[in-house]
Amino acid sequence: MAKILIIVIEDDPLMSRMYQKIFMFDGYDVLLASNGQEGLDLARKEHPTVILLDIMMPKMNGFETLDKLKADPDTKKIPVIMLTNLAGQHDAEVALLKGAVKYIIKSEFDPKQVADMVKEVIAGYTRDVLPS
């Protein structure tokens, strides 16, 4: 099985480093981007298995980044999981409409639960993308 690469796009280093550890402990490769633009460039370059995307960010917010990811044929097939502390249902719906596959409210889950949810997504996609 090919090595799984996760890109975490998150401006708060506290959070991004925590997510990095969560996935590191599970044996995944993790790359960090501190804003939308950086994340976009990284995604085009590295073609990750999955992207975790924060909504509230400087420069380019999560929704804009999501739009750009989904508009680029190169990156549009990469599953995107939204990360946020905004608890509004409305935001969740907007994100899903724009093409995100899941929506995680950061404060409501333990790292292990987050890891499980991401794994679920990866499992679903890698079956199609990586048949081995």
């Binding site: 925590m18 402990f25 950061k106 404060s107």
Partner: protein, 860 residues
């Protein structure tokens, strides 16, 4: 003047004018024609005369031809032989030739022979020098061989001459001289011409100084005409009405005017013209008389006769005084006069009726006056009594005849005021003042004074001229005494009214101050769309400076808000229900508008007296709200992020570095930190949820779902907790799934409500357990959660669903398990937002409690 005379006059004058005009016109045109015929005739006469003169000249020319073309005379001019003279040039020859002058002149100008012979006196004369001058060497007459004929002026009178060249009998030349024949135009000549033209003929010289001659005025005039225009040779002039003169100018051989011939004619044609006009006049006069007579007789029969009869009849009716026949003789037929007579008869009938009605009315009025209680007096303008009714007589104590004709003011008014009253009366009758009623005393026969209230009115004729004044008086002597008392009472009432008015004014001022100082825009309208009261704040809020009169003005000012204020005003008038509009955007401001009916302050049948519109500037509030939203948004992010990091990291440490955590105390401290972070995140989440609910920011879906199934899921989630505590948790299947209607609301929010309620029950239950039941009631679905826990005391129940409250009576006895006391408060708000509710159904301390969660179903 009677119609008959007028008609006669008008017709006569009309005919006279027409006839005169016709006569005048015909005479002008006829006479003009006759004059033109006359003119033509006179011109013919003149041309006849002119021809006659020429004939006579031609005759002389013919005679001279015999002599001039003759060998003997041809020779004679050369040799002048005596023989020729004796045999040919004797007196007899000149008589025969009928000439006065004969000359033989050689071409060199020498006169071979000359003779002047008077035909009247039959003897020779010496030829005057002036005649010979015409034939001198240099004379125009001799300048060439041509034949010359014409007239010349001589001292003997105008003369006709012919000059010819002498030729042989074969008419051959060369000519050695000339032959001249001459004839004086004398009275005999004129006489012969006169005979030829059959009219008297006169002649004058143009230059009379040569010969003494008649100088009639008319000749001078003709001469003037001719000399003024040398082309003119003829002239015609009326000498008088009976004679006309024609003038002919004859020039001499040199082209100079010589003589004027005058023909005098009597004006026969003109006379005939005058006669015929006289005949026409006569005929017209006869026709005038006949026409006048005819039309007059027609008018007389058709109109005048009837009108006169009608006039007589009406005069009779008018002069008739007593009980007469009110009828005119009707004319048969359909013409205007017939209709007139019929109409007059109809009119007379109705006149008769109205007269009778008037008599009746008069009779009634007399009766009214008799029975009426008030005293009625009519005075003329000088103050004399014209009429007084019985009541008046009774009051005064006199007989009617004693009063009528007397001077009112001197006879019946007290001495001290009569002058004032008379003055007032005069001013009223002159219309200087208008007093409809006044109080005044009168003096009765026995000397007592009575006070009367008089009403008065001016009586006017049809030209609005006052001729008398009618007064009606009522005896108020007794009433005045009674009135004194009433006045006192009235004053007291007035005082009260004054006080009350002052109170009302104060109240009004207070209200006004209140309205003006309220921060809301205040607008009171009546029910007819008019604005009654506004305050300054209103103009401030809507930034309007124009004055507002109607609801339409208001609508224009605030139309940007999108609220149809007129329609809402009308709706409110109809339904009497208040309407509120919130968060209206108005330029840069936010407004809220509240429309409510204003009802009378009564218990029953309250009448709608207006509509009140309150406008609030909520811009500040909106700004505050927005900053609060932002605060919560930031707080949610900024508080939860570090907390999540703490919790996540500790969780990771506990999971992945178990092997390193050998120290039991360290592990415990880490676990406590983890628990604290979880609880803190819970508190923050509760705070956020509360504020979102309170602000109405939380979104609720309306979806149909099976509450039974949802409850089962929740129970499954919480079953581990119950199991840990050693209590039961079960769903009692009181509701068949088939029958159960689907609930209506936000499924996830309902899940939270159920978790909260069931979780609470589990938390406060130490033994026994928690059971869940379902009841359908009036289209509502009720979930009952019953526990066998501590129960809630009566005094704590009221605090149960409040913010930050737990069901404990004291702040110091906090339940250590739960921190904020927001759980039930959030539950209640959520349920209410979905159209349901959460209540404590029943509770007994030490036995347990039952909470219920009610939701609408899809059937609602």
């Amino acid at each position: 003047m009677s119609i008959r005379k007028k008609t006669l006059l008008i017709i006569a004058i009309t005919f006279l004018v027409i006839t005169s005009a016709l006569y005048f016109l015909s005479s002008v045109f006829l006479l003009d024609g006759f004059r033109r015929i006359e003119q033509d005739l006179e011109l013919k006469n003149l041309s006849h005369l002119s021809e006659t003169l020429l004939d006579s000249l031609s005759n002389l020319e013919d005679k001279s031809a015999d002599w001039a073309v003759w060998d003997d005379s041809y020779n004679f001019i050369l040799d002048g032989n005596q023989e020729f003279i004796e045999s040919n040039l004797n007196n007899l020859a000149l008589d025969l030739l009928d000439i006065n002058l004969i000359l033989f002149i050689r071409t060199d100008g020498k006169q071979v022979y000359s003779k002047y012979y008077s035909l009247k006196e039959k003897k020779d004369y010496k030829i005057p020098q002036d005649i010979l001058d015409h034939f001198s060497n240099k004379s125009l007459l001799l300048e060439n061989d041509e034949l010359k004929k014409g007239f010349i002026n001589t001292s003997l009178g105008p003369m006709m001459i012919v000059k010819r060249s002498l030729l042989t009998s074969q008419a051959e030349g060369p000519s050695n001289g000339f032959l001249v024949f001459g004839k004086i135009i004398d009275d005999n000549s004129l006489l012969s011409y006169s005979r030829l033209i059959k009219a008297p003929l006169e002649m004058v010289l143009v230059s009379p100084e040569l010969v003494g001659s008649s100088t009639a005025v008319d000749f001078d005039e003709a001469k003037d005409v001719f000399l003024r225009n040398r082309e003119t040779k003829t002239h015609i002039k009326l000498l008088d009405t009976k004679t006309i003169a024609d003038y002919l100018l004859v020039d001499d051989l040199y082209g100079n005017p010589l003589v004027i011939l005058k023909i005098t004619n009597s004006r026969e044609i003109y006379k005939q013209g005058i006669t015929s006009i006289h005949y026409i006049g006569l005929v017209m006069g006869i026709m005038l008389v006949l026409g006048t007579v005819l039309i007059l007789s027609l008018l007389e029969n058709l109109v005048v006769k009837h009108v006169s009869r009608l006039s007589r009849d009406i005069t009779n009716i008018a002069e008739c005084t007593d009980d007469c026949l009110l009828k005119v003789r009707e004319k048969k037929g359909e013409d205007e006069i017939s209709k007139l007579t019929k109409s007059i008869n109809k009119m007379l009938v109705s006149l008769d009726q109205s007269t009778k009605t008037l008599k009746d009315e008069k009779y009634k009025i007399q009766k009214y006056l008799e029975v009426i209680g008030s005293s009625i007096v009519i005075l003329d303008l000088s103050g004399k009594v014209l009429l007084i009714n019985k009541a008046g007589c009774r009051l005064l104590g006199y007989e009617e005849k004693e009063i009528v004709g007397k001077e009112w003011f001197t006879s019946f008014i007290p001495e001290n005021i009569k002058d004032n009253l008379r003055y007032m009366f005069e001013r009223i009758s002159n219309r200087e003042i208008n007093i409809e009623y006044f109080e005044s005393p009168i003096v009765t026969k026995d000397g007592r004074e009575r006070i009367l209230m008089w009403h008065n009115s001016l009586l006017e004729d049809s030209q609005s001229k006052a001729h008398s004044i009618v007064m009606s008086g009522e005896d108020i002597t007794e009433r005045i005494a009674a009135d004194e008392k009433i006045i006192q009472e009235k004053q007291s009432v007035e005082r009260k009214v004054e006080e009350r008015t002052k109170e009302l004014n104060d109240e009004h001022a207070k209200l006004k101050a209140a309205i003006n100082s309220t921060p809301e825009g205040f607008l009171l309208l009546d029910t007819k769309e008019n604005v009654v009261i506004t305050n300054q704040e209103f103009y401030g809020i809507i930034d309007g400076s124009i004055s507002i009169q109607t609801i339409g003005d208001v609508a224009k000012l605030i139309e940007n808000t999108g609220v149809d204020i007129v329609a809402n005003y009308k709706t409110c008038l109809k339904t009497r229900e208040p309407v509120e509009f919130k968060d209206l955007s108005f330029g840069k401001k936010y407004l809220s508008i509240f429309i409510r009916p204003v009802l009378e302050d009564l218990e029953e049948d309250r009448e709608l007296i207006g509509i009140l519109i309150l406008i609030n500037d909520i811009t500040e509030v909106k700004v505050m709200e927005r900053s609060r939203d932002e605060f919560f948004s930031i707080a949610s992010h900024e508080l939860r992020t570090p907390l999540t990091a703490i919790r996540g990291n500790i969780s990771l440490i506990l999971e992945h570095f178990k092997d390193l955590l050998k120290d039991k105390l360290l592990k415990e401290m880490l676990e406590d930190t983890y628990a604290a972070s979880v609880r803190l995140i819970g508190i923050v989440n509760d705070f956020l949820t509360t504020s979102r609910l309170e602000m109405g920011k939380m979104e609720f879906k309306r979806e149909r779902f099976d509450i039974f199934e949802l409850s089962t899921e929740v129970v499954k989630t919480l079953s581990q907790t119950a199991l840990d505590k050693g209590i039961y948790l079960r769903v009692e299947d009181t509701l068949s799934q088939n029958k159960a209607p689907l609930a209506l609301g936000d499924k996830e929010k309902c899940r939270e409500v159920l978790i909260n309620l069931i979780g609470n029950s589990i938390k406060f239950t130490q033994k026994g357990g928690v059971s869940i039941r379902f009841v359908v009631q009036n289209e509502l679905m009720k979930v009952l959660v019953t526990d066998t826990g501590d129960g809630i005391s009566e005094s704590s129940r009221s605090l149960l669903f409040r913010k930050f409250q737990q069901a404990n009576e004291s702040l110091y006895t906090r339940d250590p398990q739960r921190s904020t006391g927001l759980g039930l408060y959030i539950t209640r708000l959520m349920a209410e937002a979905m159209g349901g509710k959460v209540v404590l159904e029943e509770s007994t301390v030490g036995v347990g409690s039952t909470f219920s969660f009610t939701l609408p179903t899809e059937n609602v």
